[in-house]
């Protein structure tokens, strides 16, 4: 009944940038998960997840990112999160995951990392 969440995927050299748009909750995280799986299938050197257009995230979104993080580690690729709004950053802090992920302020910094 509802529209699918928009998730923009762009490739820049060895890097793939995945940018979901909107609210990543239980109704939307399955879509983010399948886009991430596809993006990671080619084993890119670096996966940047740009959250600058994500206004809300719950634990289903966080779980999706933890899963992608584990895939990246298995693949030997680097994963970076960027552009987190305060309320999104807050859930990573509550989950004590803010020190596990590499987090940069914006996409440019993530691409340089």
């Amino acid at each position: 009944m509802s529209e699918e969440m928009r998730v923009d995927v762009t490739r820049e050299g060895d890097t793939v940038v995945v940018a979901p748009v909107g609210e990543v909750d239980l109704s939307r995280s399955p879509r983010l998960r399948s886009v991430l799986r596809e993006a990671q299938a080619s084993r890119p050197k670096r996966v940047v997840i740009d959250l600058s257009e994500v206004e809300y995230m719950d634990s289903s979104g966080v779980a999706t990112l933890v899963e992608a993080f584990q895939v990246a580690r298995r693949n030997g690729s680097k994963m970076v999160l960027c552009g987190l709004m305060d309320r999104v950053k807050s859930i990573f802090e509550i989950a004590r995951l803010d020190t596990i992920f590499t987090i940069t302020a914006n996409r440019e910094a993530a691409l340089r990392s």
Partner: protein, 160 residues
């Protein structure tokens, strides 16, 4: 659908929402809860946290209680609360007709073990002041969430 059994509160809630267990309605429910919390004087961050706790509780009901069925009833009741310390707050009661589980079996996991999932209960307990799971009389669970509005520390202004 039956109505939920009488709540533990003597007065009817100011707001009482029944929704079906469809993840597409999480967003509207969050907005309702955050909007009411804001009018009760909570600041922006606290409103976001209360809405997050309700979202996590609903996710768990949908995933664990109803096994992802989308047509199970869920009731969300809201009361402005006045506690003994003279500070106000909000009480949220969430009820379902889903699987019953021993309240003691619902707990957050050890966060040192990094894996997907297992964060919901931890988040709920972290952001709310009181969290109580109980079995309802015949069927389903009841979760009571309370957040006090604190004597707001200077600096952080209460919401508009």
């Amino acid at each position: 659908m039956n109505r939920p059994s009488p709540s533990p509160y003597t007065s009817a809630p100011d707001l009482h929402l029944r929704l079906v267990s469809d993840p597409n309605y999480l967003s509207g429910t969050r907005e309702l809860v955050a909007g009411v919390a804001k009018r009760l004087g909570f600041g922006e961050e606290a409103c976001g946290h209360i809405a997050l706790a309700v979202d996590e509780a609903l996710c768990n009901i949908i995933r664990h209680g109803y096994d992802k069925r989308r047509d199970g009833p869920i009731w969300v009741s809201l009361w402005p609360s006045a506690d003994g310390n003279g500070s106000a707050g909000i009480t949220v009661v969430i009820e379902d007709e889903a699987k019953q589980i021993d309240p003691g079996a619902i707990k957050g996991r050890n966060l040192d073990d990094i894996r997907p999932g297992g964060l919901g209960v931890h988040i709920i307990k972290e952001v709310m002041d009181e969290v109580r799971y109980e079995k309802r009389d015949k069927v389903g669970m009841r979760l009571t969430l309370i957040k006090h509005r604190a004597a707001v520390p200077a600096g952080k202004g209460g919401g508009a």
